[in-house]
C-alpha cells in the first residue's frame, strides 16, 4: 500500500463558486474517500420568515435564498401559501409562472455548463457560452423588470403581465438562440479536449443514485427518470405545455452536460408553447383570509426537487416554514461520485454537480 494523503478543498478555493469544504483522501492521485462539509453560509432565513415578516412578504424573502433559482423559491412558497389559504389561482398566472421558471432554467443550466468548461480549463468555451447566455438574462429582465431578483410570483398569482412586444421579443430571441445552442451541443458532444476531463469522470451508477436519493439533472444523467414536472399536475400543468423527460445513461460529467443541453431544448419548446397558447384571465386572486393548517409543495427547480413545508396559525405570521433545497439531497451522491477519480478532475466534477450552497444553508 502506498502512502495516503489528505487534501482539503475549500471552504475558499479558486475552483469553488460557493463555500463548500471537501476533504479528499488520495492515494497516487486517485481519490479513495471524501468527506463533505456544508452550511458555511447560514443566514437564518427560515426563522426570519416565521418571526419578522408577514406571510405575504415572505415570498420576497425566500426569493433571496438563491440568486439562480429565485423564481423557483418564490413560486414554491406562493403555492404553499395558496394551499394554506385554499386559493385557486388564475390560469394565466399559472402559465406565466411556468414561462419564467423555464427561462430561469435555461440561464441556470447554461451557467452550470459555463462553470464546467471553465473548471475543465476551456476558457474560450467559457466566454462563448457566457456570451450566448446573456439573451436569457435580458429576456428575464424584460419580463420581470429585474435581472436577478424577479419577485414575479406573489401569493395569489403573478405580479406583472406579459406584454405583447415582450412576448414577440422572447420568441424572436429564442429563434436566434437555437443555432447557437446547436453549436454548443456540437462542442460539448465532440470536442476532444473537453472529453478528456469529462468522459468517465465523476461517474455514478443508477443504483447508487437511487439509493442515495439523488435528484435533478444529476440523477437523470445516471438514467434515473425522476422529475417533479412529470409527477405533479395539480399546481402547474407541465404536460399540457409539452414537457419531455430527458435521461442519460453514463452518469458522468459528459452525460450531465448533455442532459442539461437537451433540457434547454425542452425548455425552449415549453416557452414557445406557452406564448402561443397563453390564456386570457386575471393575474391575481385576492383574498383576505389568513393561512391555516399545514401544506407541502414540491417543484422542479433547475437543480432538482425543491420542497416547501409551511404551517399557519390563522395569523399574519407563519408558525413554521421549512425549505429543502435540491443540493441538500445531492450531497451524499456528490461525495460518492468522487471515488476512483483523479484529483486533477475534481474541479470539473464539482462544477458538474451544480451545487448551490446558499440554497442548502439558507
Amino acid at each position: 500500500m502506498s502512502k495516503q494523503y489528505e487534501i482539503p478543498v475549500g471552504a475558499q478555493h479558486i475552483s469553488l463558486l460557493e463555500p463548500l469544504h471537501f476533504k479528499f483522501t488520495t492515494e497516487n492521485e486517485k481519490i479513495i474517500s471524501t468527506a463533505a462539509n456544508v452550511y458555511y453560509v447560514h443566514r437564518g432565513i427560515e426563522q426570519a420568515c416565521c418571526s419578522k415578516f408577514k406571510f405575504r412578504q415572505v415570498s420576497f424573502v425566500v426569493g433571496r435564498v438563491c440568486g439562480l433559482c429565485s423564481i423557483s423559491h418564490t413560486t414554491a412558497y406562493s403555492q404553499v401559501a395558496e394551499k394554506l389559504l385554499n386559493l385557486e389561482i388564475p390560469r394565466r398566472a399559472k402559465y406565466l409562472r411556468m414561462l419564467v421558471i423555464e427561462l430561469d432554467r435555461i440561464h441556470s443550466h447554461l451557467l452550470c455548463l459555463i462553470h464546467v468548461s471553465e473548471n475543465a480549463g476551456f476558457e474560450a468555451l467559457f466566454m462563448k457560452t457566457m456570451q450566448y447566455r446573456e439573451f436569457s438574462m435580458e429576456l428575464l429582465e424584460a419580463i420581470c423588470g429585474n435581472r436577478i431578483q424577479y419577485d414575479f410570483s406573489i401569493v395569489g398569482g403573478v405580479a406583472r403581465d406579459l406584454k405583447l412586444p415582450v412576448a414577440h421579443e422572447v420568441v424572436g430571441r429564442l429563434k436566434r438562440f437555437k443555432p447557437e445552442l446547436d453549436e454548443l451541443m456540437d462542442i460539448f458532444m465532440h470536442n476532444w479536449t473537453l472529453s478528456l476531463k469529462n468522459k468517465g469522470s465523476g461517474k455514478i451508477t443508477r443504483e447508487t443514485a437511487m439509493r442515495l436519493n439523488v435528484v435533478g439533472p444529476f440523477a437523470r444523467a445516471a438514467g434515473l427518470a425522476i422529475d417533479v414536472r412529470n409527477e405533479t399536475e395539480d399546481l402547474l400543468p407541465w404536460k399540457e405545455v409539452g414537457f419531455e423527460m430527458i435521461t442519460g445513461e453514463d452518469g458522468d460529467v459528459h452525460a450531465r452536460n448533455i442532459v442539461r443541453l437537451k433540457e434547454i431544448y425542452v425548455s425552449i419548446n415549453i416557452i414557445e408553447n406557452i406564448i402561443n397558447g397563453l390564456p386570457e384571465s386575471e393575474l391575481v386572486t385576492e383574498t383576505k383570509a389568513f393561512p391555516d393548517g399545514e401544506a407541502v409543495v414540491r417543484l422542479e427547480a433547475p437543480r432538482g426537487e425543491l420542497f416547501y413545508y409551511a404551517k399557519g396559525n390563522k395569523t399574519q405570521v407563519l408558525e413554521r416554514l421549512k425549505i429543502k433545497a435540491p443540493t441538500f439531497s445531492n450531497i451524499a451522491g456528490m461525495v460518492e461520485g468522487f471515488t476512483g477519480n483523479e484529483y486533477g478532475s475534481v474541479p470539473a466534477i464539482i462544477a458538474s454537480y451544480d451545487p448551490c450552497l446558499s440554497c442548502t444553508a439558507r
Binding site: F53, R56, Q57, F60, V61, Q131, E134, E138, E141, A142, C144, G145, N146, Q149, D151, I154, A159, R160, K163, V166
Partner: protein, 165 residues
C-alpha cells in the same frame, strides 16, 4: 482536422479581429434597460390619503411616514433599502399616489449614512406618530372631561339633576 476545416477556422479568427466586442463599456455606455424596468418609487403628496398601507406591506421597510404635532404626515423613502418589488404600488387604494418609474437608483454614498441614518429616522418616525397619538388621546380626554363638567354644571344650574348614571 482536415485542410478545409482548418482554413475555415483561420478565416473566422481573422474575422474576429475586426468584429465589435460583445461586452458593453459600462460607465461610458448604458447597459440594457427594458422599458418597464423596476426602478425608483415616486410619491405624489397631493393624491395621498395617508392610509399608510404602503408602509405596512413593504417587505424591507423602505417607506415610513412621520407625523408632526399638528397631525401632518411626511413621507420618507430609502432607495438603498427598497427591493423594487412594486408591492406598495399594487396595494395603494388611490391610483397615482405612489408609482414606479423606470429610473435605476443611484449608488448609496458613505456620506448619506444610509443604513444607520435610516434606522434612526425609522424609529424617530414611529416615535413621532406615537407622540401625536398620545397627544390626541390626552386632548380628547381633556375635552371629554371638560364637556362632562360643563354638562354637569348646566344640569345643576337648571336644577333637574337625577340620580341615574
Amino acid at each position: 482536422m482536415n485542410k478545409t476545416n482548418g482554413m475555415k477556422t483561420f478565416l473566422k479568427a481573422l474575422g474576429n479581429l475586426v468584429k465589435k466586442p460583445v461586452t458593453v463599456k459600462y460607465p461610458f455606455e448604458q447597459t440594457y434597460i427594458p422599458d418597464d424596468y423596476r426602478g425608483l418609487i415616486e410619491f405624489d403628496e397631493s393624491l395621498c390619503i395617508w392610509c399608510r398601507r404602503c408602509e405596512m406591506v413593504c417587505p424591507p421597510g423602505a417607506i415610513v411616514f412621520s407625523q408632526d404635532m399638528e397631525g401632518k404626515h411626511t413621507y420618507h423613502y430609502n432607495r438603498a433599502v427598497c427591493i423594487y418589488c412594486t408591492e406598495c404600488v399594487r396595494t395603494c387604494p388611490k391610483e397615482g399616489a405612489i408609482y414606479q418609474t423606470a429610473q435605476p437608483a443611484s449608488c448609496a454614498l458613505k456620506a448619506e449614512n444610509i443604513n444607520n441614518g435610516w434606522n434612526a429616522l425609522f424609529e424617530e418616525a414611529l416615535k413621532s406618530r406615537a407622540a401625536y397619538a398620545a397627544e390626541k388621546k390626552r386632548l380628547a380626554a381633556e375635552k371629554a372631561q371638560a364637556a362632562k363638567k360643563d354638562s354637569a354644571l348646566t344640569i345643576k344650574q337648571q336644577g333637574k339633576c337625577t340620580n341615574s348614571p
